[in-house]
């Protein structure tokens, strides 16, 4: 029996990626990284800034996300996100730009604890890329 399942990433503007031959997906869920294999129990969770790793026969892919929701059901993994970038075409300038934005936001005085946590995460992840 094959150990593959389907993953679909959609953002508001289009269906970003559909892959049928995925063996494992690692998502940065809110309470820590989560690896999803075939026949995982149905789950809904949301994402914090981080890297999505998609492992499949046709090659591995990495994506940077800022937020989103994951839903896994009947061996269908749906990831809804409004900001996602493929790490392959994620260049230095883009990274610096996002990093600067995040740092600006983090230094705002009126920021609350939860968003501060998220922004800090974002900064950390962005710094770790490259």
């Amino acid at each position: 029996m094959s150990e593959e399942f389907k993953v679909e990433i959609v953002n508001p503007e289009k269906s970003f990626l559909v892959k049928e031959d995925v063996s494992e997906v690692v998502v940065p869920a809110f309470e820590g990284e989560m690896g999803i294999l075939k026949d995982h129990i149905s789950i809904i969770s949301f994402l914090k800034p981080g890297i999505i790793k998609i492992l499949s026969k046709s090659g591995d892919e990495n994506f940077y996300v800022e937020d989103g929701i994951v839903e896994f059901k009947n061996n269908n993994l749906s990831i809804l996100t409004s900001s996602i970038f493929n790490l392959n075409d994620f260049d230095k300038t883009k990274q610096q730009e996002l990093l600067k934005q995040a740092e600006d936001e983090a230094s705002k005085p009126e920021i609350n604890d939860q968003s501060k946590y998220l922004v800090d995460q974002k900064v950390e992840v962005l710094k770790s890329i490259n």
């Binding site: 959609v10 953002n11 503007e13 809110f30 309470e31 149905s42 809904i44 969770s45 929701i69």
Partner: protein, 291 residues
């Protein structure tokens, strides 16, 4: 009767108007295709979002303490209406249809003693509502700079709505937009987004229950604001497709009308030219006869 010269000028002017409307129709047709495409591409996101929310809200155990965005503030006093129109005119009944729908809703609200607040998206709606409901408009947002409807803009509107809801400035929020059915038909819609009308969502019966991480409440309270933006974005996509469709058919009509007018004017021109020639001939003949 107008002189020959006048007629000639009028024909020329109608013809150049026809050229313009024809060009606008072409542009609208090209834009329509793109807008329609992006509306279709955007659909999976909002559908999935709806499904997840549905699954969540049916699984929620404690209805009393569910997030306010879902259950409402408990009152039904102040209504916020987001009226979404275009920034440009010359698109047939597109804007007036939304405004008409919105106005009748507004009148109903005021008659039943509810308070009304309006946010207009797009400058045309603002222009038309300013006269009758100027004092109710609390904000006007316009995206003249952005070429296509994009999620970033929708999020801006969404955040504004949520902020105002958080500050308890209103109890119920409704958005008005045109739903794209086909090129000739657009249906003005009023959709309530706060509190969320769960019954209206199409039910996707799922037997298995979900695991939630973290718990339902937290996911819901994270998801609902996103859903607001998504709904607004969906409305924006539908609206932009509708706008182009409506403009296309309006410009098509205008081109056809201009064609008819040119035909009519040309006949009139020919007739009066012939009359002038005949008159001249009669003059010459009767002049010759009298000799």
């Amino acid at each position: 009767m107008a002189s020959l010269d006048d007629l000639k000028k009028r024909i020329a002017s109608v013809k150049s108007t026809q050229k313009i409307t024809k060009a606008m129709k072409m542009v609208a047709a090209a834009k329509l295709r793109r807008a329609q495409e992006s509306a279709e591409k955007g659909r999976p996101y909002s559908e999935k979002m709806n499904n997840i929310i549905l699954n969540l809200s049916s699984g929620i155990s404690d209805k009393e303490n569910s997030p306010k965005l879902l259950s409402g503030s408990g009152n039904d006093k102040v209504h916020l209406c987001v009226v979404m129109t275009s920034d440009r005119g010359l698109c047939g009944g597109f804007n007036s249809n939304i405004i008409k729908k919105a106005k009748s809703y507004f009148t109903k609200l005021t008659e039943s003693g509810k308070d009304l607040k309006i946010i207009t998206v797009g400058s045309k709606g603002n222009d038309q509502l300013k006269r009758a409901f100027g004092d109710k408009i609390i904000a006007n947002i316009s995206f003249k700079e952005s070429k296509h409807a994009n999620y970033f803009d929708a999020e801006k509107v969404g955040k504004m709505v949520i902020e105002k809801f958080g500050a308890e400035e209103f109890d119920v929020c409704t958005i008005f937009y045109n739903q794209f059915k086909n090129v000739i038909t657009q249906i003005p819609q009023a959709q309530q987004i706060i509190p969320l009308n769960v019954e209206n969502l199409e039910e996707d019966k799922s037997e298995d229950s979900y695991e939630f991480e973290p718990d339902e409440d937290e996911i819901l309270s994270n998801l609902l604001p996103k859903n607001i933006s998504t709904q607004i974005f969906k409305a924006m996509l539908e609206n932009s497709a509708s706008e182009q469709g409506s403009r296309m058919s309006a410009m098509d009509n205008a081109t056809r009308n201009a064609g008819e007018m040119v035909d009519k004017l040309t006949i009139e021109y020919n007739r009066s030219r012939q009359a002038a020639i005949t008159k001249e001939l009669i003059e010459i003949i009767s002049g010759a006869e009298s000799l």
